[in-house]
C-alpha cells in the first residue's frame, strides 16, 4: 500500500519537473527570439518577448528552488543533549555530551579531587532561540 502511493507521488513529481523544464525551455526560446527581433529593429515585440521570457524563467526557477528546499527541510533536527556531572562534596562540576545509559541521579566514577562518587545532576538540551518575538 505504502509503495503504491509513493510511486504515485513520484509520478506526480516527475510530471511537475517535466512541466518546469518545458517552461524553462520555452522561456529560453522567447529570450533568444527577443534578441533576434531586437537585432531586426522590432523593439516593442522584442520587449514583450523579453518580459514573457523573464517571467516564465523566474516562475520555473522559483518552483524548482521550492521543491529543492522542501527536500532540504526534510531532516529531523537532533539538538545536542548535555549531561551535567557534579561532585556533592567539593562541588566540582563538569559538562559532557549525553551518552546512552545516562540518567539523572546516576552515580558515576569517583571525583578527581576527593574520592566521593560523582553524580549526574541534570540532563538537558540547549535550544538556540530562533523563534520570532512579538510585541506582546
Amino acid at each position: 500500500m505504502s509503495e503504491n502511493s509513493s510511486s504515485a507521488t513520484k509520478k506526480i513529481s516527475t510530471y511537475l519537473t517535466m512541466i518546469v523544464l518545458i517552461v524553462l525551455a520555452l522561456s529560453m526560446v522567447a529570450l533568444i527570439s527577443s534578441v533576434n527581433l531586437m537585432v531586426e529593429g522590432n523593439e516593442i515585440a522584442a520587449g514583450y518577448l523579453l518580459i514573457i521570457g523573464l517571467i516564465a524563467m523566474a516562475l520555473s526557477l522559483y518552483v524548482m528552488i521550492q521543491s529543492r528546499r522542501r527536500i532540504a527541510e526534510m531532516k529531523i533536527e537532533a539538538p545536542k543533549v548535555m549531561t551535567t556531572i557534579e561532585c556533592r562534596k567539593c562541588g566540582f562540576k563538569s559538562l559532557r555530551e549525553f551518552q546512552r545509559g545516562d540518567f539523572v541521579f546516576k552515580e558515576l566514577e569517583p571525583c578527581q579531587k576527593c574520592n566521593e562518587k560523582m553524580m549526574i545532576t541534570a540532563i538537558y538540551k540547549e535550544v538556540r532561540e530562533r523563534e520570532k518575538t512579538f510585541a506582546f
Binding site: N42, Y48, A78, V104, V127
Partner: protein, 376 residues
C-alpha cells in the same frame, strides 16, 4: 501584469501588430480559464501543498521505523530480523469500550489499557530478548512513538487520496487547514522517538524530576503500579513524595499509587500536591511555574478519575503546580529552561505546604509524567 499588457498593446498598436493581437487573445484565454477553473487551480495548489507535507510525513515515519529497528537490534540482540515484527507492532490498535451506557466505563477502559500495556511489553520482550527492564520500557516508548507517526501518516494519506479521487475542494481544504498542527505534532513525536531510543529525559519528565530531587537520599519503596514513594521531612511536615519508577520510560499509575498511599494512612493526609508539565499558550515562556487546584494529570483520564474519587472519600484538598511548555517541548529532550525551573517548583511546593497545612501533617507530593532518564 497580465492586465496591463493588452492595454499597452492597444495604445502602441501598429508597431507589433500581430504580436499585440496574439497577446490580447492570450489575455482573454487566461481570463476565461481563471474565471471557470479558478477554484480548480486553487485546489491543485492545495493538493500540492498537502503532497509536500505528506512526503515529509512519510520521511519522518520511515525514519522513526528505522531508528526503532536499529535500537532494537542494538539493545535487544535478537536472533532474527525484527523488521517484520516491528511492522506488525506499528499497526497495533486499541478499541475503546462502548460508551452508550457510561456507568463504570473508567474501569473498563483501565482494564483495556492494562491488557494493551502487558501485550505490548511482552511483544517487546520477544523482539529484544537481551534487554533489561529499563531498556524494555524505553523500547516500548520508542515503538509507541513510531506507532503514532505511522498512524498520522496513514490518516493524512487517506484524506489526500480521498480528496484526489473525489476532487472535492472541501475534503482537501479541511486537510490543508489542519495540516500545520498535524505537522507540528508529527515533528514532536519524531523528536520524542529519538529521546526514547537514547533514554534521554523529556520535557514531560519535569514532575518526576522535582519528585526525584525531593526524595533523593531517602529510602524509597515500591507502590502499585510501577511507582515509588519516599518519606521526606519537609518544613516540619512529613511529605510522602511519589513518582513513577525510573529511569526507564514509564508513567506508572498515579491513580492506583495515590489511592494505595491514602488507604495506608487511613485518609489522614492533609493535602495532595501534584506537579506536572502543563501546556503553555503561545506567548507564555517555557519553564514558567503556575499554581492551581485540581488533579494535574493528562492521559486518558483514568488516573484523574481514580485520584478524584480517592480524595472525595476523605475530603482531602488537592493542589497543582505546573511548569509551562508546549507539546513539542513536552515530548522532546528536556530544555534547559525546564530543567532550571525545578528549584522554583520546589519553592512553590514548600510555600503551598507552609500556607495550607499545619506542622506534623502528612502531605502527598506526586511528580506526574514520564520518568525516562530520571532515577530516584
Amino acid at each position: 501584469m497580465l492586465a496591463v499588457l493588452p492595454a499597452l498593446t492597444g495604445q502602441l498598436g501598429g508597431a507589433g501588430d500581430s504580436i499585440s493581437q496574439i497577446l490580447s487573445i492570450l489575455f482573454y484565454v487566461i481570463f476565461i480559464v481563471f474565471l471557470f477553473y479558478g477554484q480548480r487551480i486553487q485546489m491543485y495548489v492545495m493538493i500540492r501543498e498537502v503532497e509536500g507535507s505528506l512526503y515529509k510525513l512519510k520521511y519522518i515515519k520511515d525514519e522513526g521505523r528505522r531508528i526503532a529497528i536499529e535500537t532494537i537490534k542494538e539493545l535487544g540482540k535478537p536472533q532474527t530480523d525484527p523488521s517484520a515484527r516491528v511492522d506488525r507492532y506499528l499497526d497495533y490498535f486499541t478499541i475503546t469500550p462502548q460508551s452508550m451506557d457510561p456507568a463504570g466505563i473508567v474501569y473498563k477502559l483501565d482494564h483495556i489499557l492494562d491488557v494493551r500495556d502487558t501485550r505490548l511489553k511482552d511483544e517487546v520482550k520477544l523482539m529484544a530478548p537481551a534487554s533489561d527492564e529499563v531498556q524494555i520500557n524505553n523500547l516500548e516508548n520508542t515503538l509507541e512513538a513510531a506507532m503514532a507517526l505511522n498512524y498520522i501518516y496513514k490518516v493524512v494519506r487517506h484524506y489526500y487520496i480521498q480528496g484526489k479521487k473525489t476532487l472535492s475542494l472541501y475534503i482537501i481544504m479541511q486537510l490543508q487547514m489542519i495540516l500545520p498542527l498535524v505537522m507540528k505534532e508529527a515533528e514532536a513525536y519524531a523528536s520524542a522517538l529519538k529521546a526514547f531510543a537514547y533514554g534521554q529525559p523529556i520535557g514531560d519528565g519535569v514532575g518526576p524530576l522535582v519528585a526525584a530531587k525531593l526524595m533523593h537520599g531517602y529510602e524509597t519503596r515500591k507502590v502499585p503500579k510501577d511507582c515509588v514513594v519516599a518519606e521526606v521531612p519537609l518544613e516540619g511536615r512529613t511529605a510522602l513524595v511519589m513518582k513513577a519508577e525510573g529511569p526507564g520510560g514509564n508513567v506508572g499509575k498515579p491513580g492506583d499509587a495515590i489511592k494505595a498511599v491514602i488507604d495506608e494512612n487511613k485518609g489522614k493526609i492533609a493535602a495532595v500536591i501534584m506537579i506536572d508539565a502543563g501546556l503553555k499558550l503561545e506567548g507564555e515562556m517555557v519553564g514558567e511555574v503556575a499554581e492551581g487546584v485540581g488533579a494535574a494529570i493528562g492521559g486518558p483520564g483514568v488516573d484523574q478519575f481514580k485520584i478524584e474519587e480517592a480524595l472525595v472519600d476523605y475530603h482531602i484538598p488537592i493542589y497543582a503546580v505546573i511548569v509551562k511548555e508546549d507539546i513539542g517541548d513536552a515530548v522532546s529532550p528536556m530544555r534547559k529552561e525546564i530543567s532550571d525551573s525545578v528549584d522554583r517548583v520546589i519553592e512553590r511546593v514548600k510555600s503551598v505546604i507552609l500556607e495550607r497545612t499545619k506542622e506534623g501533617d502528612k502531605v502527598i507530593i506526586f511528580g506526574v509524567g514520564n520518568t525516562i532518564g530520571i532515577g530516584q
